[in-house]
């Protein structure tokens, strides 16, 4: 019961005192109620569930998660097989 899709706000408007907007989901747009994200602006990403934005996407956090995952791959490489981990080509450096 959680089909929440991230989309980008392309415009906002007031309809009878309620903040509404248009959200673009990768080429598909729909009117969305923004009443629950009053701080949202055009250009922000929101999570939309049944026509309502329920959360503002924290883009910095999103990046951080991906970076951690990418770094994980390198770290794991070293942890599991240190002799295979990329080493600088230098005769002075002893392998980890």
């Amino acid at each position: 019961m959680c089909l929440g899709i991230p989309g980008r706000i392309t415009q906002t408007t007031d309809v009878a005192g309620v903040l509404m907007g248009t959200v673009d989901f990768g080429g598909v747009s729909r009117d969305v109620c923004l009443a629950y994200v009053p701080q949202a602006c055009v250009g922000d990403y929101v999570i939309v569930h049944v026509g309502f934005a329920i959360s503002l996407v924290d883009e910095a956090e999103a990046q951080r998660t991906l970076e951690i995952l990418r770094a994980m791959g390198d770290a794991l490489q070293q942890e599991l097989s240190p002799e295979d981990a990329p080493q600088p080509i230098s005769p002075d450096r002893t392998p980890a």
């Binding site: 089909l3 989901f25 990768g26 080429g27 598909v28 747009s29 009117d31 049944v50």
Partner: protein
């Protein structure tokens, strides 16, 4: 805990709506197959079905293989980005003939029109039929028009019947797929079905997606000229999508099919619409692409031929035919797992929640 009525235990038959035709019976999935098997074929006799579901019928007339196909078009809305019911009606039947390896020769078009239907719309649909037929080089040679009372039809229903001549190199049937064969797909999937669903105003979506409706007979002719009898099966995955088409072939040929999720070409906006509506792109109707199952040795050359033609610029290799799990289609998922790809069950309802 809900009370279970102890006297209920007797009848094991689950709840099934079997007295009335449901929308799902027309959607091209399991329900459609059941309607055909249980209601239609028994009454029409052996000539109505060889037992293998094909897109068109082959009739030998004095040594010439004629191919005959008919289809009704009831799409709503009538006009949508990329096409309309008129273009759909022409392309649909031209393609059904082509899928049996035939060169379409002529079309018949019939209308059932609801009283009150705007003449301007009738002109628009007919202009579309004419343009599509001319572009395909397949003339409309006869037809019929009926008008029914208000409410007795949804605007306009169009039926097209087409006749063609089977090309000599064609040796095609849903039952001819063999282990080792390669599954090719001529282009991106999901555009038509998501366009139509998105355009329905009650769901409120606006998209840049357009239907992929197009005639495929020239592509087929080029493919047959290139690979001839190495092409074992051809099918245009309309209602029920690629999943249903592959399942029908797997069952008819009694083989297994394995496809790679990574290879499935879904345009980004179609993918987005499917996410929002909760649709599986493999179940969405297409009107401008085909699946071909071909012998492995000539597959790469055939793919190159396809990619040289406008109708199949982004043709891909989707998977292979195998000995294992006959009748079933398996998919290697993005994550490295596997799952079965099933036929569409009934009407495709937007999954919202």
């Amino acid at each position: 805990m809900n009370t279970v009525d102890p006297t209920l235990g007797a009848c094991p038959v689950p709840l099934v709506e079997s007295e009335k035709v449901m929308l799902g019976h027309g959607s091209g999935g399991q329900l459609s197959a059941e309607l055909l098997r249980d209601v239609l074929v028994p009454a029409l006799g052996a000539a109505a079905s060889t037992g293998v579901p094909e897109d068109a019928a082959v009739i030998d007339v004095d040594g010439v293989d004629l191919v005959l196909s008919t289809d009704s078009f009831v799409v709503s809305p009538l006009f949508f980005p990329g096409g309309d019911i008129g273009a759909l009606a022409v392309h649909g039947t031209v393609n059904d003939l082509a899928m049996m390896g035939a060169m379409p020769v002529a079309l018949a078009v019939t209308y059932v029109i609801e009283e009150g239907f705007p003449i301007a719309d009738l002109r628009r649909v007919t202009a579309s039929v004419g343009a599509a037929a001319a572009a395909a080089g397949v003339p409309v040679v006869t037809g019929d028009t009926k008008v029914v009372g208000r409410g007795a039809a949804d605007g306009i229903f169009v039926t097209t019947t087409g006749i063609g001549r089977r090309l000599p190199q064609a040796h095609i049937s849903a039952a001819f797929a063999r282990p080792g064969d390669v599954v090719l797909l001529s282009g991106p999937i999901g555009a038509h079905g998501t366009t139509v669903l998105s355009t329905r105003e009650s769901l409120g979506f606006e998209t840049e997606i357009a239907s992929d409706t197009r005639a495929l007979h020239r592509l087929v002719a080029a493919m047959l000229a290139d690979a001839g009898p190495d092409i074992h099966v051809m099918r245009d995955p309309t209602r029920g999508g690629v999943a249903s088409a592959l399942n029908e072939i797997a069952t008819a040929s009694q083989v297994g099919i394995e496809i790679d999720e990574q290879a499935i070409p879904v345009p980004p906006t179609v993918a987005a619409a499917c996410e929002l509506l909760g649709l599986d792109p493999l179940h969405v109707a297409n009107e401008g692409c085909l699946v071909a199952i071909t012998a492995p040795d000539t597959a790469d050359a055939l793919l190159a031929t396809m990619r040289s033609l406008p109708e199949a610029l982004s043709a891909v290799r989707l998977g292979v035919v195998v000995n294992e799990h006959p009748g079933r289609v398996l998919m290697n998922t993005l994550m490295g797992g596997t799952r079965i790809v099933d036929m569409l069950v009934g009407e495709q309802l937007p999954r919202i929640c």
